[in-house]
């Protein structure tokens, strides 16, 4: 489904990704872990097409196409979804309005008929159950005045509505208490199918107790420093990231800057 080859990316002229290779097949869940500044959020944003991140080398093939040629909205309509670490507030636009617009844009793209507000309301009500979201959230402005947990739930609701082929969850666990974490993770698990794939970007192993990955990739200094199964996450939890940083530095022959 997704093939990342030797990906390099910069933000404001600083190179953050220094050669990432990653292959993701449908039905798989991949965890991207790593210390702060290792480049894991950058990878998520590059996949979503954030304009501040410039790809300076390598390629990303998504379903046989060059993903990097597509605008962020084209990527989304093609089935890529990024759950934001810090979801944006959109004052004056109701959640229902926003979701219907996004949903219909995708339907149009797929040559399907658009849903009118009433049809969509029923559909949305059904999808909202995935994240146990109250109907009152639908008439409120997108994310405005939402608590941290509500914002993250709203991200997963969007995922439930848009049914992406590839979902990238960027630190979806950050700022969540244990109950909210369970709801959010439960939602993601419900949305998992043999046909889609999920990339979970996280600093902590905690989320991976709920969303169990098939593969764990650990980033350090913009490169993948370690790869393994779900047990790698547990090992990290125990030993911390310093162990990876050091060994990554040695492996690559680089001098650790910090």
């Amino acid at each position: 489904m997704l093939e990342i080859r030797n990906l390099h990316a910069t933000v404001d002229g600083n190179e953050i990704l220094k050669g990432i290779d990653l292959t993701i097949n449908k039905g798989e869940i991949h965890a991207i872990m790593g210390p702060n500044g290792s480049g894991k959020s950058t990878l998520a944003k590059v996949l979503a097409g954030h304009p501040q991140y410039e790809v300076t080398g390598g390629e990303v093939i998504y379903e046989g196409r060059n993903l990097l040629e597509l605008s962020p909205d084209e990527r989304a309509r093609e089935g890529i979804f990024m759950a934001f670490q810090y979801p944006i507030e959109v004052p004056g636009v109701s959640n229902a309005q926003f979701l219907r617009l996004a949903y219909n844009e995708k339907r149009k793209h797929l040559g399907e008929e658009e849903l009118d507000p009433l049809e969509f309301k029923d559909f949305l009500k059904e999808r909202a159950k995935v994240v146990e979201m109250d109907a009152s959230f639908m008439s409120r402005s997108v994310n405005e005045g939402f608590s941290g947990g509500e914002k993250k739930r709203n991200e997963i609701l969007q995922m439930a509505v848009l049914e992406p082929k590839l979902a990238v969850l960027d630190e979806t666990d950050s700022g969540l208490d244990i109950d909210a974490l369970r709801v959010v993770a439960g939602g993601v698990n419900q949305l998992r199918t043999p046909e889609n794939a999920i990339i979970v970007v996280t600093h902590y192993q905690r989320l991976l107790n709920y969303i169990v990955p098939d593969y764990v990739h650990v980033l350090a200094h913009g490169r993948i420093a370690r790869e393994g199964g779900k047990e790698l996450a547990l090992e990290l939890e125990e030993k911390g990231y310093d162990w990876i940083k050091t060994s990554a530095g040695q492996e690559n022959g680089a001098v650790a800057r910090n």
Partner: protein
């Protein structure tokens, strides 16, 4: 400069009061009025003194600090504008204006054509318990004449404003609206100002006096519209008096012709514990200027003075607002938002006064502007003048473009950039539009905003 032009220049700039100058259409109209529509001595006196003020003040010029960014010279110099007469009333049918009626107000609809109240076009079955009269006629009304005398030209002061002076000098119709004490009007009252005509460049001077007596409540919708869509000049004045405990909601929707000059004053006086909630939507006119002033005359009053201006190519929209906290324990809220496109220009000047002794004042003022084009320009000036020491006041202004992070967020959900920009702009306007409690006005404004944005994409 040709002699004719020079003569007019002398009249206006040098304040020569030569009543015989044919150039001065306004003076001629005033003279005619004295002959054809004499009134009570006190009204004659007010009109004369107002005409005197207009003679000496003329139209405001950009050398006046309050008019620094809004140039009325093209209006002041133009001799083609002539005060409209009553004759045209008969030419308009109810059908022709039915599309201007908001369904929620259907049975409470007052129509002023070029400033003249038209009983034929108005529907007043919904105004049970309230009084709606021709303002000029109300002067000599045995029951209401004394109220008109007490409140007319009391809040919309014409001593230092040529435009208000001109409106006052040419008083000959208009509307007097009385909401008696303890009356709660359920049906919103709509006042439609119909201006313009296909074959002349009219100047009209609508004048409205609203008196909301003790513990009354009502909703008033003002709607400025045109059938003709031509070049004309509206100089409107509305005065509102809210007595103790009165509650008024006031929506003002300005959709004048895109070639029109629209200048207007709204002056409200708030009594003890009264509540005034104003929302002004400025969409139309080539040049629009709205002065809104709210004076809190007694304790415990509260007001909302909100607005939205949508300024497209070649449009100019100026709002000057004054909120005067004269007494303690009053609260004011102000949110004005502007969306500017093309080479549109806007001005927001908002003064808040907190007078000596007006302790426990709570005043909040915000002006936010969204620029959709690099040629658009806005001059914003929120001002606080505080002469009391135990108050809570805050103000702020912002001018910006579409937020890139918001745009990316919408794009990341599959919404194309043009649509995403429109949605964000719509959302920006919605903060003001959304507070309107009359559905048909809200949906009309939503449609207008979206239409305007759509046009922008195609352009």
């Amino acid at each position: 400069m040709p002699a004719k032009k020079m003569a007019r220049w002398l009249v206006i700039k040098k304040m020569v009061s030569d009543l015989a100058t044919p150039e001065n259409n306004y003076q001629a109209a005033f003279r005619a009025l004295q002959q054809t529509k004499p009134s009570a001595p006190w009204v004659e006196l007010v009109r004369e003194s107002a005409m005197d003020r207009f003679q000496s003040l003329g139209f405001p010029s950009v050398t006046n600090e309050e008019w620094k960014y809004t140039n009325l010279a093209p209006l002041a110099k133009d001799a083609s504008f002539r005060p409209a007469t009553e004759e045209r009333l008969s030419a308009i049918t109810k059908d022709a204006i039915s599309s201007f009626v908001y369904p929620e107000t259907g049975t409470s609809h007052l129509v002023l054509v070029n400033g003249f109240l038209s009983p034929e076009l108005s529907t007043i079955t919904g105004i049970e318990g309230a009084v709606a009269l021709d303002l000029f006629a109300a002067v000599s009304d045995g029951k209401y004449g004394r109220l008109v005398r007490e409140y007319l030209a009391r809040n919309a002061c014409y001593k230092n404003n040529g435009l208000r002076a001109l409106n006052t000098a040419l008083l000959q119709s208009g509307l007097f609206l009385l909401i008696p004490r303890n009356t709660n009007l359920q049906t919103p009252i709509q006042i439609t100002y119909l201006s313009g005509s296909p074959d002349s460049t009219d100047a009209s001077f609508p004048r409205v006096l609203v008196l909301a007596e003790e513990n009354s409540s009502a909703t008033i919708v003002e709607s400025y519209v045109t059938i003709a869509g031509n070049r004309y000049f509206t100089d409107a004045v509305m005065e509102l008096v809210l007595k103790e405990g009165a509650r008024l909601k006031h929506y003002r929707v300005q959709r004048e012709s895109s070639k029109a000059f629209h200048v207007a004053s709204t002056s409200a006086e708030l009594g003890r514990g009264s509540s005034y909630d104003a929302t002004s939507i400025n969409l139309g006119a080539f040049l629009a200027r709205h002065d809104i002033s709210v004076v809190m005359e007694d304790e415990g009053a509260e007001c909302w003075v909100d607005g939205l201006y949508l300024v497209g190519a070649d449009q100019h929209s100026d709002t000057h607002s004054v909120i005067d906290h004269k007494k303690p324990h009053c609260t004011s809220h102000q949110l004005y938002k502007g969306i500017l496109d093309g080479n549109g220009r806007a001005v927001f000047n908002g003064k808040i006064f907190v007078r000596e002794g007006a302790q426990k004042t709570d005043a909040m003022q915000t002006n936010k502007n969204l620029l959709l084009s690099s040629q658009a320009r806005v001059d914003t000036k929120p001002q606080l003048e505080i002469f009391a020491d135990d108050v809570k006041c805050a103000h702020g202004a912002a001018v910006g473009q579409i937020d890139e992070e918001e745009l990316f967020y919408l794009q990341a959900r599959g919404i194309n950039p043009d649509l995403a920009r429109n949605l964000l702009t719509y959302g920006f306007a919605e903060e003001v539009i959304g507070k309107i409690t009359i559905d048909s006005i809200r949906s009309q404004l939503d449609a207008t905003v979206l239409h305007q944005l759509h046009a922008q994409i195609e352009a």
